[in-house]
């Protein structure tokens, strides 16, 4: 078995003054899609922010390709090939759609993703490439947020609640695009409230409960009962 691309061990992380993650351990293999589920407040977003460097932790708690990155700044983490699609999308309002994508690619990491390829994936963005990002619908903004992360040509893509607040038909469009995104060997971690969606796109799943791992398993074999038990702590 090869080395994991991301290995988290004994991570204690804090959200403001509250401890949000307790002694958390998990790993992601190269090219693997891992889903993270859990109730609100379980620590999913704190986990995403910790891995991406927005929350800084003990160096050894997070290892990426064997390197201790837990204490690095977000820009240093990004330069190593980890990109986050943040919860709430958080586009740059004074930048146009295309400028949002270009700023995502400003590190010029080599890889398959380019403006042309993003526009091929989400054609509506090409039509609207010159409008301010604030003028887009929620679904289109989410496409920009995903495109912006892909422009960095990451080796590990973190997706935090990408279906939050979107219409089902838009969610389907975005999830239909996922296999095409990860087919070239990019690893991904998907935080998702919709358990069925999370299980359908991932190969393994972690369920967090109150900052701890309550369940870990292969997505195609975990049972609804086991998830319900992990979700609610029963």
């Amino acid at each position: 078995m090869s080395e994991p691309i991301l290995a988290i061990s004994a991570l204690d992380a804090y959200y403001a003054d509250f401890q949000a993650l307790y002694d958390l351990s998990m790993h992601v293999m190269p090219g693997e899609v891992v889903a993270i589920i859990g109730a609100n407040g379980a620590g999913k977003t704190t986990l995403m922010r910790s891995v991406s460097g927005l929350i800084r932790n003990a160096p050894e708690a997070i290892r990426y390709r064997g390197e201790a990155i837990g204490a690095l700044r977000a820009d240093q983490v990004a330069a190593r090939g980890i990109a986050l699609v943040p919860e709430g999308r958080l586009l740059f309002p004074s930048l146009s759609v295309e400028e949002n994508l270009l700023i995502g690619g400003q590190m010029h990491r080599p890889g398959p993703w380019s403006l042309e390829r993003i526009y091929a994936l989400f054609p509506v963005l090409q039509e609207r490439r010159l409008v301010p990002s604030t003028a887009l619908s929620g679904g289109q903004q989410q496409m920009v947020a995903i495109g912006r992360a892909l422009m960095a040509n990451p080796d590990l893509l973190l997706l935090d609640e990408i279906s939050l607040g979107l219409a089902p038909v838009i969610i389907k469009t975005i999830y239909d695009a996922l296999p095409g995104i990860v087919e070239e060997g990019m690893a991904a971690v998907i935080v998702e409230q919709d358990i069925a969606k999370a299980l359908s796109v991932s190969s393994r799943v972690y369920c967090l409960q109150e900052g701890r791992t309550a369940l870990e398993g292969r997505s195609d074999v975990v049972t609804r009962e086991a998830i319900a038990a992990a979700y609610f702590g029963m």
Binding site: G53, A74, D75, L90, S94, L102, I103, Q106, A152
Partner: protein, 286 residues
């Protein structure tokens, strides 16, 4: 004719005020930093121009080739060494620190150069002028105005058309998300301050050629810069030029009415504009 002359001379003076304002506007726009020491940095640039041109025996405009990079380097170091540490949710620390910096700069200049007024000698070009009917347009004010417009145009282009400008705008929008894109905020802010002080270097040398200066005049230049920014509308680079011109014309018309009213007239017009249009003449659309 005197009135037309006053308006034309005021417009040319306004170019200089726009340069005072451009640096202020840039750093406020990118990092929400109000730099109280900005006027003293303009005066510092004028003294640097003086030292460089006298030590090397070169024309003050040629001295810009050294003063601009020195001020830019100083700006980067100042931002990374001191000012970045003051930035956060609270507006007060950067105000206090730049106020302190202003005091240090004034006293430092006083110690080194004394309180005697100085002037940069630009030679024959200072008195040469273009005769247009009964209007006499000095070549030097014309050249400075052209440079100011070119610098403002360059800043506008940089801000909206280049990768650096994109990085400035993204960091200004959302600092933490910009960090996720691989932009180190501390470095981006350093670059913004470097650019602002490069513009300030030009402003300081132009000021020193145009009029005599001493270590105490920074505060007044800061006020003119602020007024130009506010009149033009925050966040609008071309508006800053318009604001500078409005201020310059107001001052020269005031001086035409009564020589003692020059500065006062500028302040009165500034107050009238913020009373009638609190967001300035050309606020950024949003």
């Amino acid at each position: 004719m005197d009135w037309i002359n006053a308006i034309v001379q005021g417009t040319l003076l306004g170019g200089l005020y726009a340069l005072f304002a451009a640096g202020l506007s840039l750093i406020f726009g990118v990092m929400r930093l109000v730099n109280i020491a900005h006027g003293d940095l303009i005066v510092l640039a004028a003294y640097l121009g003086l030292s460089v041109s006298t030590v090397l025996g070169i024309h003050p405009l040629v001295a810009l080739a050294l003063v601009v990079p020195i001020m830019a380097a100083l700006g980067y170091g100042l931002q990374r060494g001191i000012l970045n540490r003051t930035l956060g949710d609270d507006l007060l620390p950067p105000l206090l620190v730049t106020f302190g910096l202003s005091v240090i700069l004034q006293n430092g200049l006083l110690e080194i150069y004394s309180a005697d007024p100085q002037k940069l000698q630009a030679g024959a070009i200072e008195t040469a002028s273009l005769q247009l009917g009964s209007l006499a347009l000095g070549y030097l004010p014309l050249l400075m105005f052209a440079c100011s417009v070119a610098i403002i145009a360059g800043l506008q282009w940089m801000f909206y058309r280049t990768a650096l400008g994109r990085a400035f705008r993204a960091t200004s929008d959302r600092q933490d998300v910009a960090q996720l894109m691989g932009l180190n905020r501390a470095h981006v802010f350093g670059l913004a301050m470097a650019l602002a002080l490069a513009v300030t270097a030009v402003a300081g040398v132009f000021l020193g050629i145009r009029t005599s200066f001493d270590p105490s005049i920074g505060g007044g230049r800061l006020i003119f810069g602020f007024e130009a920014v506010i009149i033009g509308g925050l966040g609008n680079i071309w508006g800053t030029l318009a604001g500078g011109v409005v201020l310059g014309i107001s001052q020269s018309i005031g001086a035409e009415i009564n020589p003692g009213w020059q500065v006062l007239a500028g302040h009165v017009v500034f107050l009238a504009i913020i009373a009638l249009r609190p967001r300035g003449l050309f606020p950024r659309m949003d």
